[in-house]
Symmetry: C2
Subunit: 219 residues, 2 copies
DNA sequence: GTAATAAGTTAGAGTATTCTAACAAATTTG
DNA sequence: CAAATTTGTTAGAATACTCTAACTTATTAC
């Protein structure tokens, strides 16, 4: 059984993997806030356990078992976040840190009950998909708001960053998942976008913000 | 901040302490299922952190800080058990193992919300008191059913053992907290008790069982 | 295509937690 | 109270996870 530390490595490998399923050691080390030698030795040990394919100087690749394991931890994380928001009244900006701990609990029934009580949700409070109990993940094809053109109407569906600070920023602008936005114009100089929605006839969003907002284009 | 391991030691010291607040090293080692040298070295390290008073060959005594710390972990454990039973539909025989893990989560708001949602309960699903958020514990003066006399009517209020096996035994006999029992007779040979309650006009409870049932004497 | 830079590896060490083997102190027994 | 037993301690070692320093390989820049 994977330790909490190993589980965090698997999750990081999974989340940092590019479209080819590859990650560099330095990205992994940076993502987990550990030194390069620490990540290096840990990866060797994950290889021994069969979670990772590792060859000197080559990019890291999760094995099929490693991918499934990682997805199941992410499942626990996202179910927990959803439970905290929907059943315990937490704000979406408060739940990540708690879920970061709860995800390591070994108690299948505990997460099964969350799943049932929530009605088997498919996305978490930040719009990310919840892997199913086999570790399969549904892929969505959302686009960043930053890629949208003036005149388009879109619906906010997910985020590529769920830091407390970013979520508090969104709270302050009353931007929630589901909000419909009209793209009014783009400032050529800094690529900021001017949008309108609900009771906000005109709001300017920096590129940094708009590229972290994933939307579905309505028209 | 105490590690999960240290927290488990503090809890064990707290729970195993006699009326003088003392525990032997061997009891501690046995309680935690570790070797004597392991417990010995751990106790020395707990002393360095100020949780335990330790002198060679003397019984172990938790410091005031150690007692409070232990009580606050027990608070998280018991609140969790109550939450699992009352809000998530678990049976009282299923919750201890889960709570054993959840108690180590560092997230004050998480347990505050449980507390609120439960209406600030004072006992857990097994009748044990839930320490308050200052680590203070309400003491009850219950007596073991084994000490009761034929003719007495009592109410089942708590247990001195909450193992899954024992709880499943109680489930099989429809014995729950709150059940009123009439003590009919005691068998002199093996000290078993014959009792009646609800739809059970006659049930024999071994001494092993009756000494683990804590009751309030009604008449 | 070198030279400079970035990325990755090895060596060696430290803390936390655990163990077994050997020994010492304290307690119980007859 | 001396012997037997129980309890507690020390020494030495193993595993998991982490670090810094030193070195090597790979990549990027002229
Ligand atoms: Mn999260
Ligand atoms: Mn985590
Ligand atoms: Mn319990
Ligand atoms: Mn525990």
């Amino acid at each position: 059984m994977a330790s909490s530390t190993e589980e965090n490595y698997l999750k990081a490998l999974f989340n940092l993997s590019n479209s080819l399923g590859e990650v560099n050691l330095s990205e992994l080390a940076h993502g987990l806030q550990v030194s390069l030698p620490t990540a290096n030795s840990m990866v060797k040990s994950l290889q021994k356990s069969g979670w990772v394919n590792y060859e000197k100087y080559k990019p890291l690749i999760l094995t099929a078992a490693g991918q499934k394991e990682a997805a199941l931890i992410i499942r626990k994380h996202r179910l927990t976040e959803m439970f905290l928001v929907k059943k315990m009244g937490f704000g979406w900006e408060e739940v990540h840190e708690i879920a970061e701990q709860v995800e390591h609990i070994h108690a299948p029934k505990f997460f099964q009950r969350m799943d049932e009580m929530l009605g088997f949700p498919t996305i978490d409070p930040h719009g990310s998909p919840i892997p199913d109990n086999q570790g399969r993940i549904q892929e969505f094809s959302y686009v960043p708001l930053s890629s949208c053109k003036p005149g388009q109407t879109v619906q906010l569906t997910a985020l590529t960053n769920s830091s407390t600070e970013f979520l508090e920023f969104l709270n302050s602008r009353k931007l929630a998942l589901g909000t419909q936005l009209n793209v009014l114009s783009r400032e050529a100089y800094d690529l900021s976008l001017v949008v309108s929605y609900e009771n906000h006839p005109q709001e300017t969003l920096s590129e940094k913000v708009s590229e972290r907002l994933l939307v579905r284009v309505l028209e």
